[in-house]
Amino acid sequence: MPAVQPAPVIDVQIVDHPVRCVERARLPHTAGGECVFLGSTRADVHPVYGALRRLTYHAYAPLAIRTITELAEEACRRFDCTIVRIHHALGDVGPGEVSVLVETACRHRDQAFSACRFLIDRLKETAPIWKRETWADGTTWSRGNPVVTDEDTACPDTSSS
């Protein structure tokens, strides 16, 4: 007789500092696979402005929380997750520091991998979060992607400042 599936645990947070790698979730015993994705600031060099000093994240927080929570709920339905944890940083995140954590736990590893990939991809497409890049000799806004809508969009290049 299969174990009774507990209600999924969803933990969504927008924090005002780099994301700290949290203690591994205590898994419900029905979870057999767990994935953790960490997105971090990559050391980079701008052809004009030089070395990257930091990224600074901004958000429309109420909509970001709602959007990410709804993604987590969708992941639970589609991939049978028992745990979804998503933490995203606001403010300065230096090279090597973590800006986003996505953790998924599911009955099987395929589901956990798929859920984790789904969540980070859709977060990047839909969450109202923006990052400003501070280089040695200037700043730019990361160009980003239009939130997916029914219409095709063609955006002007407004990335440099």
Partner: protein, 71 residues
């Protein structure tokens, strides 16, 4: 966009039955930065993404969402 406009909050008066598209058009007429970005803006009403034909109500909060770059 907010930096260019030098405001992170704008007010607009609309006729009864106006839609998200009407609001966007009205703001674009007043602010070139919004007109320039209009084709790639998403719109949220009261903290939910909404299509352009959504009818607005008195006191609604509309957020213009430029291309996003989280993660």
């Amino acid at each position: 966009m907010a930096e260019t406009i030098r405001a992170d909050r704008l007010e607009i008066e609309l006729d009864e039955g106006a839609t998200v598209r009407d609001a966007l058009d009205g703001l674009a007429q007043k602010h070139e930065a919004i007109a320039t970005m209009a084709d790639c803006l998403a719109v949220a009403v009261n903290e939910r993404y909404c299509p352009a034909d959504t009818t607005l109500n008195n006191g609604d909060t509309i957020a213009l969402i430029p291309p996003v770059s989280g993660g």
